[in-house]
Symmetry: C2
Subunit: 511 residues, 2 copies
Amino acid sequence: MLIDKRNTIFQISSILFFFGGFLCAQKLSSEEIKTAANKKFPEAVFELNSFLEIPNDGHFPDQVTANKKKCESYFSQLGFTVKTISTEGAPLLFAEKKFRKKAKTVLFYLQIDGQPVDTTKWDQPDPFEPVLKKRQNGKWETIAFERLKNEFDPDWRIFARSASDSKGPAMAFISALKILDEKRIIPQFNIKVIMDFQEEMGSPHLPKAVSENRELLDADMLFIMDGTRHVSNLPTLTFGARGIATATLKVFGPRYPLHSGQYGNFAPNPVFKMAQLLAGLKDGNGRVTLSGFYDGIALSEPEKQRLNNVPEDSDSILARIGMADTDGIGNTYQEALQYPSLNIRGLNAAWVGKEVRTIIPSEAIAEIDMRLVPESDGKRLMELLKSYVREQGYHLVDSTPTEEERKKHPKLASFTYRLGSLPFRTEMDSEIGDFLNRATNKVFGDQVVNMRTTGGSQPMSPFITTLNIPAVSIRIPNPDNNIHSPNENLRLGNFLEGIITCLAILDEPIE
Amino acid sequence: MLIDKRNTIFQISSILFFFGGFLCAQKLSSEEIKTAANKKFPEAVFELNSFLEIPNDGHFPDQVTANKKKCESYFSQLGFTVKTISTEGAPLLFAEKKFRKKAKTVLFYLQIDGQPVDTTKWDQPDPFEPVLKKRQNGKWETIAFERLKNEFDPDWRIFARSASDSKGPAMAFISALKILDEKRIIPQFNIKVIMDFQEEMGSPHLPKAVSENRELLDADMLFIMDGTRHVSNLPTLTFGARGIATATLKVFGPRYPLHSGQYGNFAPNPVFKMAQLLAGLKDGNGRVTLSGFYDGIALSEPEKQRLNNVPEDSDSILARIGMADTDGIGNTYQEALQYPSLNIRGLNAAWVGKEVRTIIPSEAIAEIDMRLVPESDGKRLMELLKSYVREQGYHLVDSTPTEEERKKHPKLASFTYRLGSLPFRTEMDSEIGDFLNRATNKVFGDQVVNMRTTGGSQPMSPFITTLNIPAVSIRIPNPDNNIHSPNENLRLGNFLEGIITCLAILDEPIE
């Protein structure tokens, strides 16, 4: 049956191809877009796999180089002009193609790197060897990629680091460009692409690079091909993102780990000190107790109503994440995202589990992240936290305490913070909003979710503040994709709809 | 000069050898003991190294087997009868030699296994490749073992797992036996030896084995060749040890780690819950707040005076461990050890450092140990802690929560505990106390520290409760030996004095 379908598609595309030269202003129908994406799909999965096979931790220059090379080949083959933007660290990659003289220009942002992997926590041998899985009897079971040649189930998933964050979305965009290229259909606007290889590290060199390449990157709007769909897994457009700032808090104990028998009751344990510090930071409802933390945010009733138009309910989100209750910031999930958050993303002192040993740890470390909204300033919030630690009687050192400091201060800690992406928000009621809704509604009807702010950060602020252009993020991956965690995955149905989304956008005139 | 000395020793030992048959009841002088130990020293270090080269994590049966084989050869060569005591887990090794028909019998306890190693944290490539180091300009610098052939500095140290805990002390005992054997001097009492290969795991099968081999192990007194010297690094006898109980507390968060941007402010973070639980356990002075935790302990003024005879002061201990203040349990270090302690020996949620990722952890784990004294009962204290967790509103599950439990209980945790070695205390004013002070005073004068209780636990209670014999632990290693931690080491001076101690004891009549 699939073969029959493909024959039909082949005939349709041949006709399109034939008229291509004349009919390039003729838009594809919703049906044609879907058919073309379906036809391209097995090849797109194959190409995505070979992309995912390249390890992509931005900390490692050789991994950056290998991924950059691959990206260069994708866009060169599509006739784009490709240019490396050097920075003091990892380079960025830029690609450009002018399709129509008088048309507007859209800058696409692609994130190519992924989070570091802890191979031992994955259910597959190698997070960079993609595995296709099918859910059966409550378990994910590996199946052969070969089956995609004549079978398709939207609920099958590709498991690999970056499958969803964000090589999958990048490949959906590239596949859509390939389809148009093969059909000789010209996109409705000019395209610039910027590729980031250190997004998960907070894109440390992006702001300067944007500032130094203002003209090169200039565009009418920015589409961010990163981020996860709304929890309903409906096609999602997001008009803002929270920013991020991170910090490391270390509480120092004895100079080296001590035998807990020999020193228990004598040498204070830094874990209890850390616990007391952290426990004082939030109330029983999960609200940050630092005075001024939520300053400046006041959601009006109409704003709340619009926010809560998003089709979701807390109970089903709770059921999915396996929790009985939420933190008490805002009345709904969408409202919660309009506030800054304070999270402990990692905590450690000595060893647990099989490696446990009976010692008093020499230090306790808390890795902290704050998610920021336009109303909150990362530096201000981090300084609030720093002051709090000082108010609890801590002497703060820069890195490790000196002997003199160890002798003098019963409460010793270090606190360092880094400001990452700034938050941003584009008006929903705008040209970019209207355009993207027009394009996506064509293929998905009214099933498109518009979100004011997404929780995750994106390094968009340099574009928005320096280039002064509106930005929207186009969301493709399934929300339960284990983003940033072991067993990251991309649902096949989402990847397919991602290609459809990109095709619809590329084929839609902006004006 | 050393060669001259050795010639002298050789002459002395030849004379002793000649008269051996006649003079076996003639005790060695303090000088003779020291000379003999000095002469044996280079060979003893060589032998200790080859012992340390055998990895000895009790979790691994092949490592247990390799160490047991080595121990068998040591004692067989000394003419002991050697016997394996099988258990449901790792075996124990027993060795026995009757020297004098009417003499008393002493059971020596040797710990052969070591704590697990985290190789990455050591300053040498392999914790099982002993390295000799010299402290120079505030740094430990590796020097060749060869130098011991004609040089000796008591402050040089052997770095290796188990150097001090407790293959070093075991080898001091074996070396002393070898010296006597070579000199054909007969020890003053009959000897039994029990070797434990899972002490660091809490000797899980020892109690049953002792109970089943009561006659075999029966003796007049027990000498424990384990534990670190008093902080003054003077020769130390310890008449009691704290017991231990361990627990694992897990606080559950979302089913899997969540992106902190997508879920921050919505999904409660288990780290804050854990922090609140732990923060409530101790007051600002480090005293456990659980009502009843310190019940039953009342130190009389004379007891306190005797305890505080031990030559030490808090300030110098604090300076050594690099802290400005102590916990507030008891007024001195010795007093602190007379109370049970509650320690967090390990704490973890998600990742820190280079592996950090921006997630809400799915669980927070605290590894807990309690050190127990004869007045405190491990089960009672652990149940106090368990009740405390429940009183904070937690629903406790056995291992992982079911879906139903996740749905129902906002506060979900698991708490499991294991009772380890029981505490013990032998009267100082006793036959065993008098004997050991007589033997050690002979070689060290009044420089011998007698301690009522040491902080660390030892699996002695099965011997004491089942065999009903008094026990004292004979302490050899330097207190700053990094016991249980990376860079464990044994000071050469301590190893030498360890051989002297064992010689003096073996050559001293009990009555």
